[in-house]
Symmetry: C2
Subunit: 514 residues, 2 copies
Amino acid sequence: MVNGSQSLIRTLVDAGVEVCFANPGTSDMHFVSALDDVRGIRGVLGLFDGAVTGAADGYARMAERPAATLDLGPGLSKGLANLHNARRACSPIVNIVGDHALSHKRFDAPPETDIDALAGTVSGWVRRSSRPEDVGADAADAVAAAYGPPGQIATLILAANVSWEAGGIAARPHGRPPVTAVPDALVAQAAAALAPGRPAVILLCGLTQRERGLRAASRIAAATGARILTETFPVRLQRGIGLPAFERLGYFAEQAEQQLSGAREMILAGARSPVTFFAYPDRPSCLVPEGCALHRLGEPGQDIVEALEHLADRVAPDTDPILQEIIPTSPHRGVLTVDAVADLVGSNLPEGTIVVDEAVTGAQSMARGTASAPRHDWLTLSGGAFGQGIPTALGAAVACPDRKVINLQADGSALYTAQALWTQARENLNVTTVILSNRSYAILHLEMERVRANTPESRAAALLDLSMPDLDFVHLAQGLGLDAMRATTAEEFSTALQRAASEPGPFLIDAVVK
Amino acid sequence: MVNGSQSLIRTLVDAGVEVCFANPGTSDMHFVSALDDVRGIRGVLGLFDGAVTGAADGYARMAERPAATLDLGPGLSKGLANLHNARRACSPIVNIVGDHALSHKRFDAPPETDIDALAGTVSGWVRRSSRPEDVGADAADAVAAAYGPPGQIATLILAANVSWEAGGIAARPHGRPPVTAVPDALVAQAAAALAPGRPAVILLCGLTQRERGLRAASRIAAATGARILTETFPVRLQRGIGLPAFERLGYFAEQAEQQLSGAREMILAGARSPVTFFAYPDRPSCLVPEGCALHRLGEPGQDIVEALEHLADRVAPDTDPILQEIIPTSPHRGVLTVDAVADLVGSNLPEGTIVVDEAVTGAQSMARGTASAPRHDWLTLSGGAFGQGIPTALGAAVACPDRKVINLQADGSALYTAQALWTQARENLNVTTVILSNRSYAILHLEMERVRANTPESRAAALLDLSMPDLDFVHLAQGLGLDAMRATTAEEFSTALQRAASEPGPFLIDAVVK
């Protein structure tokens, strides 16, 4: 007879969950112990819960199926920021949270935490298994819930006694949810919106940002003049030579307003109605221009990529997509700039690379410098909670062991979840982390300038400065078990990239940029 | 005319809040900017929200008044684990959370987070200021709420527009809450409970764990034979030569049961009725022996120290306290053990040191080795959420710049909030961090053994192992701007302690223990 934990793991394995990212605690010991009894799931240890949850997000984006995460009460709170990002990315995750034995909860022991409230802020589905007999069925429901549509975080809370008590029954998986067709009427509506004389914008999101969707969108643009924009922060965007390339919707309101100005028709291909990230005095939050009509090309669970292809067949039957051509780059020498980093990464990018972009203020340069690199996937920070890059790179590498992962990482954000570097080393993953060391919270300097004329010597500016003392990412990486190099010139950066390419396992480059 | 942020800071300063630990984000920019306009508050930058909140806890424990913490939506979640610990420590903290402008919330922009739900899990008081005119009064209420009694986290949520709009009005502070006397009837009841023939236990908590309370308790014990126990994890315990010393209530249920067995009367001097940390199969959660009567010697807000003295005057009028005497230590040579670390720390401890103990499995040795050191304060992990030590040491050092701080820190727990080392360097604080590197989650190994006979090669055991690759805390510390040394022998550890004592500013010793 198996216990609750064993039936949980058996059910997860049968439902195709192959990886469990874990930072275990006392209430999880029965689950951890059960890993010795049930084969088929790989436990990957993270030293911080935010590393664990960010890894599950990166894994889900690339594997297109959920990993499990293992956490407990106060630990769950440490993982919430990257669960927030995962929620915004619609990444499927089965989040297992160990809790006190049910008889123990009323004593409000020191570790007691309101897990339901915490989990509720990020989960689309939350359940507590109340007895070992239910755990298997609950786990099968959790996996189904994680798939959505859209993908979401399914949190299963498991009291310690439900884990340890006998009576567990493994459950059959529900299978993936079916994908249905977008009603033809919606495609017809969108086609009508693209009629001549009505300036139109198509916002791409989700799966439409891969080859099939991009090609269809490019054909539509070429035939109708519609402007195509991808997400501000794409969850996963295919790009590079031979693929159509589009601008991303701008981050700052004034950029986005300019991109959308004059539009009379807006087709949302999986996208939400566009809004600014933050509000600023006397600026609107909603980015839809006045008088612009909105058209949704399908809903979650519908095949929006196919709908986009149908739309292209209607409005651009004889038009070919426009594909990214080679952009020549100029050579770089001497002092290392953000642009030099971008160009050198771009001209050394292996085909099939997964780029994890948390470059923040360096992101525009990075996108430009890699635009005509060999085909690659581009993963960005989806929810604005910094500290996603290093763990997401870890998770993507676990999902795709045969592909190279490059993490373009701002320095300030790197510090939130640098612990994930250790797991990259432990699992010997092929991840190169490029730290863009400008030694400040540069994005907040920009935001501060938007608030007021800020003098660099002010006390406020000191709260955005990371240079006293300087962070030394080479030592930091070595402390976490990685090889690393610092680069202060373009030549050194080239050498470092070559070294990263020539050695197996993870590597970190501290790119000190001017 | 001042804006909301400026009135907030003005009010905090007038209420005696002198420090703001901050990891700012976009929604906080108006608050940060206001730091240039209002003098009197010191902004201390942390590179991770958990470092900020843990620092505020350490500050509150030593300064006995609240610091402010500055956070925003997803960032708040990163700081929750140490707010959980602070909640369990009854530490007063004014937690300022920046939120979107009110007009922006309904758009559910990517950073949007359920701040109210998150804050609710750790706060005793939560309020949203709805207009700039209210911010000052709300801030004054927040400071009052933080004082309690008992001390608690008061979260004030400030929408960006309420920060930036004009109309702020600074408010007068409410002053500290008064402390009232414990009713004499309770003291008389406790005295009766200490009558001969009824085995009695007195559990100390809070302020009774400082000199006056300890002396009174010792007199009572000497006169009546009552057993005195301090908290399992004291928030702040005074100890060392010349002070009475008592056992702490055991962490594991079987230790605690043994300490309490046979008790027929239990006097709670500020303590809660004792419960185990976690539940285990077939063991009770409640630690009060059957048939044992409970007596509460006062409530929060009452002067329990005075009540304990009155109790001593009744039952032990002519008895002196028993004071800690020198315990000779044997010299240590060669391979470094946990006991050697403890003895060497103890024999080199300057008077007035603040010891922050997150030694976890090493904690018992550390307490033993320092028992007869010069008088010092001992701060421990109050809520079981690991990652409190390094930030708490930072906060304690900010509160007490003239005192030495030693952080006895387990390696696994250190990794959760090591970012706080950088702030120790930035603020040039007199903190020595001793990492007890056993390269495993040793506490979980113990818990695992309690679950099952665990073979070291198992997949479960691998999830508790930190040795592949080894963490190198010397490099890690250097990466964060600190000087550091490794010690693998007792001689090297002595040298490292001397170096830490001789140089100003923070220092880290990676004590690799067998």
